[in-house]
């Protein structure tokens, strides 16, 4: 790229956003609006990738969409300019903006599964933009799609497009979306968390494909993500956003290694701890009867597909056991089996030494009380029509028969335990933030005074800093109450932080099990090594290193297929 003189630099600028101001209507209030993007400015040069990073509500997706002259329903651009190649998209009528969208500025969304039309074949959707913008005929668009499928290493590129979205895997669909965005050879790609919904082993492949694509086509990119390590692999510069405002901006290496602002430093240190924090020293394992003992448990759905295959696992009192694995490995099903929601076909489950009936309805109320569950999505796990007081009061009266003032006192105590103010009892879930809702879910579980708590991906829907708080809270509760945790997660950073023991699951079976320090140190089980090495690290050249290493040891890479 010619980089001589300020004038050449000027010409290379493809997108300039100045003082962008976007307002969102507040639901239920007429004419009331709050800013979700507040005075953000940025510049993007041809072939350059700018990473936009921040927590949810930072406004990063809103800025990304604004680069296409688009705002979500209920939002409006109230100030500033979005100048693309000399044209201000903020001032252009919709019919004019349409000519830019898809053809010169293209969008890649987080969930390909949701962003592909389930009723139409991939060819129809990938080739649609160039045909509708009058750039190609259908047969040319088809040839172009096939060429992109091949470039993105999709299987059988010649016939791939004949399939429907539900007929290909998540990672393949995500790459097909990249092909869809590139079909018109756009000058700017907006990538909105394109790998967040994927498993780590798939993420690495998609990330490599995207990087190759952007470099080879010399496309400029706005890469939106909450994961600093991911953005560091692909972005030239990074902009940190918070509450719709810019916190700081700089070359990727500077943000990673020399962050200036306190907020950035926090993001960096929390993320770095996920992959580089030393493993905690093993805690003393309580002797005596384990709280939970699974013995050769197998289970399947409608006796067709075996989803749990001969799993044996014990959890001691006061211990945290993490079950890790990728989506579809059967880890959530294991939780359902332990809870009695899916009775196992063979094997036994013992709770504090006594056999536990297989099915939920055969278990006594006290047996139910002693195992509690916290779910991934606090939004849907809490009844939106009940107050927090009712939600927490229900297990108190159900399991302990308390009533009236006793329940209210206990609810207050529970709120205190999860660090929420007592007056939250009168509120409803809709008035709470994600992290607060998850605290309520935890309070609901401990209301039953359980001995085992199953935490199913409890932090994966939360921002890193909020998740950090939840993990600390769980630790604190365990110290106070001495209960055992079964942590189900795909997030190895979480495993590293909280667990005493780890069980690694692959296709329904445990491939490795033992104390954290043993499972997570060499010699690894090959699959554990694949998982561990796939978690992005906070180094600029991490992706290249891993790919080079994988090329040398194809055996390990083959496991991910």
């Amino acid at each position: 790229m010619p980089q001589d003189g300020p004038e050449a630099m000027e010409q290379n600028i493809i997108l300039t956003i100045r003082d962008l101001q976007i307002l969102a209507r507040i639901e239920g209030q007429q004419d009331a609006a709050k800013p979700i993007v507040d005075g953000v400015s940025l510049e993007l040069r041809r072939g350059e990738v700018l990473g936009l990073i921040g927590e949810s509500g930072a406004g990063k997706s809103t800025i990304g969409l604004a680069a296409l002259g688009y705002t979500r329903p209920g939002c409006v651009i109230s100030g500033g300019s979005i100048v693309f190649d000399g044209v201000d998209l903020a001032r252009l009528p919709v019919e004019e903006i349409r000519k830019f969208r898809g053809s010169r500025v293209a969008y890649i969304a987080q969930s390909a599964a949701a962003s592909f039309n389930p009723a139409r074949k991939l060819y129809d959707q990938v080739g649609e933009a160039p045909v509708r913008h009058g750039l190609m005929s259908w047969s040319e668009a088809k040839a172009r799609s096939t060429e992109l499928f091949r470039e993105l290493d999709l299987p059988n590129p010649d016939t791939f497009g004949e399939r429907y979205p539900h007929e290909v895997s998540g990672g393949q669909l995500q790459r097909a979306m990249a092909a869809m965005a590139m079909s018109c050879r756009p000058e700017i790609l907006v990538l909105d968390e394109p790998t967040t919904a994927l498993d780590v082993t798939t993420q690495i492949e998609v990330l490599a494909s995207l990087k190759k694509l952007i470099r080879e086509h010399h496309t400029a990119g706005l890469y939106i993500t909450h994961d600093l390590a991911v953005v560091a692999q692909i972005a030239d510069r990074i902009m940190v956003l918070r509450h719709g405002k810019m916190v700081e901006e700089g070359p990727a290496g500077d943000i990673l290694h020399r962050p200036q602002q306190e907020y950035t430093r926090m993001l960096v240190s929390v993320r770095a701890a996920e992959t580089s924090a030393p493993l905690p020293p093993p805690r003393h394992r309580a002797a005596g009867t384990p709280v939970l003992a699974l013995d050769h448990v197998s289970a399947s759905y409608r006796s067709l597909v075996k989803v749990i295959n001969d799993v044996s696992l014990t959890i001691a009192r006061g211990e945290t056991v993490a079950v890790v694995g990728e989506s579809g490995s059967g880890k959530s099903t294991l939780a359902r089996v332990i809870c009695g929601l899916l009775p196992p076909e063979s094997g036994t489950i013992a709770f504090t030494g006594e056999p536990l009936p297989k099915a939920l309805r055969q278990r006594s109320r006290d047996q139910l009380r002693r195992i509690q569950m916290v779910y991934q999505m606090p939004d849907v796990a809490l009844n939106p029509r009940q107050t927090i007081g009712e939600i927490l009061g229900r297990p108190v009266s159900f399991y302990f028969g308390s009533s009236g003032s006793d329940v209210r006192a206990r609810v207050k105590e529970l709120l205190e335990m999860v660090d929420l103010p007592a007056d939250f009892a009168k509120r409803r879930p809709g008035e709470l933030s994600g992290g607060q809702k998850q605290r309520v879910s935890i309070a609901r579980a401990i209301a039953a005074k359980p001995e085992l708590m199953i935490c199913d991906e409890v932090t994966s829907a939360l921002d890193p800093l909020v998740a950090d708080g939840i993990l600390k809270l769980l630790q604190q509760i365990q110290d106070e109450m001495g209960l055992s945790y079964l942590f189900i997660t795909h997030d190895l950073g979480v495993v590293r932080r909280v667990s005493d023991r780890v069980a690694v699951m692959l296709r329904g079976a445990l491939v490795a099990e033992g104390p954290l320090a043993k499972v997570f140190s060499p010699p690894y089980h090959p699959y554990t090594e694949l998982l561990l090495s796939s978690v992005p690290e906070m180094r600029l050249d991490w992706l290249e290193e891993v790919l080079a290493r994988r090329a040398e040891i194809p055996r390990v890479a083959a496991l991910s297929a």
């Binding site: 349409r98 830019f100 949701a114 962003s115 009723a119 649609e128 509708r132 429907y164 539900h166 869809m180």
Partner: protein, 315 residues
């Protein structure tokens, strides 16, 4: 998918069987039987007895039911009590008339309602949407005969464009037939339009908040293409079902319109048969109507399966 289709077909056949039992049982519990109905007031116990013997009325009900159903399936619908003619002959021309009127009404109403529904969805809550909503709701709120009489007064009497009596006969050519059924068909269109149009609108709007719609917008497609090519295919299943229900109504439920326009269709035949206590005709009509309902709904479900790639081509 074959298993899914087979299950749906089996369910349809079962439904028709159950209905046929109900129809048979229903006419069975009515006081009197065919013998007394035929002989009327002049019956003597001996003559009734001899007719009963001749017609096999002494056989137990299940035997008679099976005989009735097997005959029916072979096309032998029995003989009318009122005039002694084979029912099949009588019904054939009436059914033809009913299907003709229903097809004309459907050919106008189905495409029109889907087009209007999609147009309303494109500009949801806009002027066109509100106007069309009010207009179709008004049409559906009036009783059918009222709409029919209003049309007769305006179109037939004042303007004189179409005849007020839909007297159709087998010798007419297609043009003449269309000419005479114009007003009843128009009445039916106004009655069924609102239901299908509102379902199309609601179903399309429901799909419009999906991420793949946002994606289509971000690809730079014009609004109508987003709706027609991306939203409509995913909104089809409920629309197909409502269309089927309305088609069934057009065949089965239009007795009032037939009476107003003196149109010789199935509805009139059945009402006449009930008035004359012509039980075999009532049974035959009942079973044909039930078959129409069940058959159309079954076709709708099968089409809905075909319209969904995930059901059509499961992994």
């Amino acid at each position: 998918m074959l298993a899914l289709l087979a299950r749906r077909l089996a369910l349809g056949v079962l439904t028709i069987l159950v209905t046929s039992v109900l129809i048979f049982a229903g006419t069975e519990v009515l006081p009197g039987d065919v013998a007394t109905a035929i002989l009327g007031r002049s019956a003597t116990p001996e003559s009734i007895e001899s007719i009963r013997k001749a017609m096999g009325l002494h056989d137990p009900a299940p035997v008679r039911y099976v005989r009735w159903l097997t005959n029916f399936l072979q096309g032998d619908l029995g003989t009318s009590l009122a005039n002694g003619r084979p029912i099949a002959q009588q019904i054939a021309s009436r059914l033809g008339n009913t299907l003709f009127l229903a097809s004309v009404a459907a050919a106008i109403a189905v495409p029109l309602s889907i087009i209007l529904g999609v147009m309303a969805a494109i500009r949801a809550n806009g002027l066109f949407d509100r106007a069309i909503s009010v207009a179709t709701l008004v049409a559906i709120s009036f009783p059918e005969f009222f709409i029919a009489y209003v049309l007769i007064i305006i179109v037939a009497v004042n303007l004189g464009w179409f005849p007020s009596l839909a007297s159709i006969s087998p010798v007419m050519d297609l043009g003449d037939r269309l000419y005479v059924v114009a007003l009843p068909a128009l009445t039916l269109v106004m009655v069924v339009l609102a239901h299908m149009m509102r379902m199309t609108r609601a179903s399309v709007i429901g799909v419009m908040s999906s991420p793949y719609i946002e994606m289509a917008v971000l690809k730079g497609l014009p609004g109508w293409r987003v709706v027609v090519q991306h939203a409509l295919p995913n909104a089809l299943a409920p629309i197909i079902n409502v269309v089927a229900l309305n088609l069934a109504y057009l065949i089965v439920g239009i007795i009032v319109v037939e009476v107003v326009f003196v149109y010789p269709g199935m509805g009139q035949l059945m009402v006449d048969a009930v008035a004359k206590r012509d039980v075999p005709v009532v049974q035959a009509c009942g079973l044909i109507f039930a078959g129409t309902y069940v058959g159309l709904n079954m076709i709708a479900d099968i089409l809905a399966i075909f319209s969904n790639p995930r059901l059509r081509r499961p992994r």
